[in-house]
């Protein structure tokens, strides 16, 4: 294969109200992996969407081997041999693996034997033994990603765009993916690899391009750019250090769970939270972390168990339905159950707090006050938005998460339940959210923090509860928190 050169010249993209990309110039060669890194909203995905034909560039040119090409649709992209592997595999679960791979080429009267053979060819290129006649819905998510890659390869596979492909991967799946990428690289493909995770980019890419606010801020050979340099350029300032708080004493119990049981998980869970304490809830996927929180919050029906909350007059038994009134709850999947996507920011912020805006004499809601409060919190939490009237769905992940924080902070909860509060959030926003949680605890709120990131648990928790198969397997003090110890209780 001749050595391909893909050149993007002065690419820009304007969305209403936002300039997503400005003058991005990147040159990528066959046999190289270009790592594209940047915080959420930096423009990585927009750039890839332009190459993949999902969006059209507002300006700039694209060249392959010196020849200018235009991409108006995903079909165009495919015709130029550009394969796009999405963050979440986009597959048709009721169709077979082979059908998914050749989706755009399916015609009436398909010869299925031939189709399956062809599919097998591409799957074997990746050392993958998925049967082409299996339904995609029956495959684990990692293997679905393989199907996506095979699909990209079937389009010629000269230029491959990996948009955060590892988001839903296990470690073994990730390893395999990297092997595949290296293999493809050796075949002379132009490869773009997008990720939040610095160590992934460092591991796989030959060149690194850092994007910030739609511009290329630094680019070059990966081995020549030190990690601190990349980090600094990503967030455009100094890295915010989490402050290691001095040892504080927690003696006032404000929340007590007793024998909480709901089906498979949680099972007989009892624990206490103290005033001003951050308690980490650690466990592997499927250990029942989210289920426990949902049961405490009254969203899942509890079979057994009681909750006690101190609302100012000592610990009192509170029914599961009433627990909500004293809690803030940042959910795991904000698009699913954290936001009203078509609504403006201010409505989202005040949505759980309407009671506070009742006006006499008819208990009508004070919309003006709602907007004022929302504006105050948008400023306080540094949410980047043109106004509080902006629809929440047009914000980046980090800013959406800040809005969710705002909506619960406004309620001034006694107890704060946080389920993966920084998932899919960029480095800058993450530090800010950590700060918010710490400040809240300092003011006396008891926080229960779920996180898959062990560093986050380390940095924030005063105490860690380890959950294993729905039960509390261990309770570890701050002084004794250690990666190996945590893992030893999980498995």
């Amino acid at each position: 294969m001749e050595n391909m050169v893909l050149k993007l010249e002065n690419i820009s993209k304007v969305f209403p109200g936002v300039k997503a990309l400005s003058d991005v110039t990147i040159e990528a060669r066959g046999g190289e992996v270009t790592g594209l890194i940047g915080v959420n909203g930096a423009g990585k995905s927009t750039l890839m969407n332009i190459l993949g034909g999902v969006h059209r560039a507002s300006g700039g040119k694209i060249f392959i081997n010196g020849e200018e090409i235009s991409i108006h649709s995903p079909q165009d992209a495919e015709n130029h041999g550009i394969g796009f592997i999405h963050q979440e595999p986009i597959t048709f679960n009721f169709m077979t693996v082979a059908e998914n791979i050749f989706l755009s080429k399916l015609k009436r009267g398909v010869n299925y034997r031939k189709l399956n053979e062809e599919a097998k060819k591409y799957l074997q290129m990746m050392d993958c033994d998925i049967k082409p006649n299996m339904k995609v819905g029956d495959l684990p998510i990692g293997e679905r990603q393989m199907v996506e890659i095979a699909r990209a390869l079937s389009c010629g596979g000269k230029i491959l765009l990996f948009d955060e492909p590892t988001a839903s991967f296990t470690t073994t799946e990730k390893k395999k993916l990297f092997e595949i990428i290296r293999e493809l690289k050796n075949h002379g493909a132009v490869i773009f690899f997008i990720s939040h995770f610095l160590d992934e980019v460092e591991e796989i890419s030959d060149k690194t391009v850092v994007l910030r606010d739609g511009r290329v801020v630094i680019s070059g050979w990966t081995k020549d750019i030190p990690r601190s340099e990349i980090l600094r350029n990503m967030i455009g300032g100094e890295v915010v250090q989490l402050d290691e708080s001095a040892k504080r004493v927690f003696d006032e119990v404000v929340f007590k769970a007793e024998g909480i049981t709901a089906g498979k998980a949680p099972v007989d869970v009892s624990f206490q939270l103290h005033k001003g304490e951050i308690v980490g809830l650690w466990g592997l996927m499927g250990s029942g972390r989210t289920e426990l929180v949902q049961t405490l919050y009254g969203l899942n029906r509890a079979d057994r168990g009681k909750v006690y909350i101190d609302t100012g007059h000592g610990l009192k038994h509170v029914s599961f339905k009433k627990v909500r009134e004293y809690c803030g709850y940042v959910t795991e999947a904000r698009h699913d159950d954290g936001l009203f996507l078509p609504w403006p920011i201010w409505k989202n912020i005040t949505s759980p707090n309407l009671k506070a805006y009742k006006k006499k004499p008819f208990s009508f809601l004070d919309f003006k006050k709602q907007k004022e409060d929302a504006e105050e919190y948008v400023k306080k939490l540094n949410v980047k938005t043109p106004s509080v009237q902006t629809r929440i769905e047009s914000l980046s992940g980090g800013n959406q998460q800040k809005v969710i924080m705002a909506k619960w902070l406004l309620r001034k909860p006694h107890i704060f339940l946080l389920d993966e509060p920084t998932r899919g959030v960029d480095v800058g926003a993450k530090a800010e959210i950590h700060k918010m949680i710490q400040n809240l605890a300092r003011e006396g709120t008891a926080c229960l923090l779920i996180s898959s990131e062990i560093e986050e648990i380390f940095a924030l928790s005063d105490r860690v509860l380890v959950l294993n198969r729905g039960r509390i397997a261990a309770e570890i003090d701050k002084a004794n928190i250690d990666k190996e110890i945590l893992m030893s209780y999980c498995v």
Binding site: P342, S351, L365
Partner: protein, 335 residues
Amino acid sequence: MSDINNSGVSAVDKKPMHPLTAKLKNPNLLLLFVGVVIIVFISLFVPKFMTWRNISSVIVQASSTGLMAIGLTFVIITAGIDLSLPTVMAFSAIIGCMVMSKTQNELLGVLVIILVAMAIGAFNGLSVAKFKMVPMIVTLAVSTIASGASNWITGAKSVGGLPASFKQIFAGNVLGVPTQAIILIVVAVIMHLLLSKTTFGQHLYQTGVNEKTARVNGVNTDRVKFLIYLISGLMAGIAGVLGSAQLASAGPSLGTQDQFMDIVCATVLGGASVMGGKGTIVGTIIGSIFMSVITNVMNLYGVEYFITFVIKGATIILFTYFDLIRNKIGEVRVR
């Protein structure tokens, strides 16, 4: 996607919406505009239209559709549907009128009409909220039961022999204004305030836009769902009172499944979305008046009854399409 070539626009500048686009985005204004054009047009060509008698008959017609459309608006905002509205209206009116004709007590009769309708609404609500049944199926079944029961009880005839005062009170007029219109306006104002100004109203919209988020916010979505079907029943009951008073009798033909088309037309024309989360009482009322104007004009023209359905169906398709275009204009797509 008209925004694509404006690469000169600076990043933070918020592009102001074109004033016409902004107006078009308000469904009520569009509907009002179309309505006024049609009415002016009609009054030029159909001299009978602009008579006081005809106008009040339009209003009377709009009141029954309007009340039920208000009920449906509540339901549709939470992404539900209540197909049983017209038949429940007829059924409850029949039961109430039977009581009224026996006792000659109009107040007792009215009370029975409303309570029966609300009881059926409560049944719908319980089925949907508590037992998680699909609203379309439950209310369709209830509608069939109500319609069947109405015909069965009455032998497909009307129940008459009502006290004369019943018609005088509920189908009379105050200073020349039909009572029905007054009742419609009062109910509409109360329901408008309830929906747009109270916590309960906001909980409705929250439930419709994203039920899971609403639950996390602490909204008792089951209670909300129960209550909206109860309100829907109440509206069917009030419509039943007005309908039977107008005719001074009540029979199965008072409310048939055919009428549901008018109700859903009024609601959708008024800006409600079957997907939930959208809809206003003001819009629904304008939609109801619009619907009864169309029906009335077709009557005046002597359009055959069945053809009116064809036209109404076409109207709703046209408006749904309009709605799509309207949403496309100024649609913001940012990732």
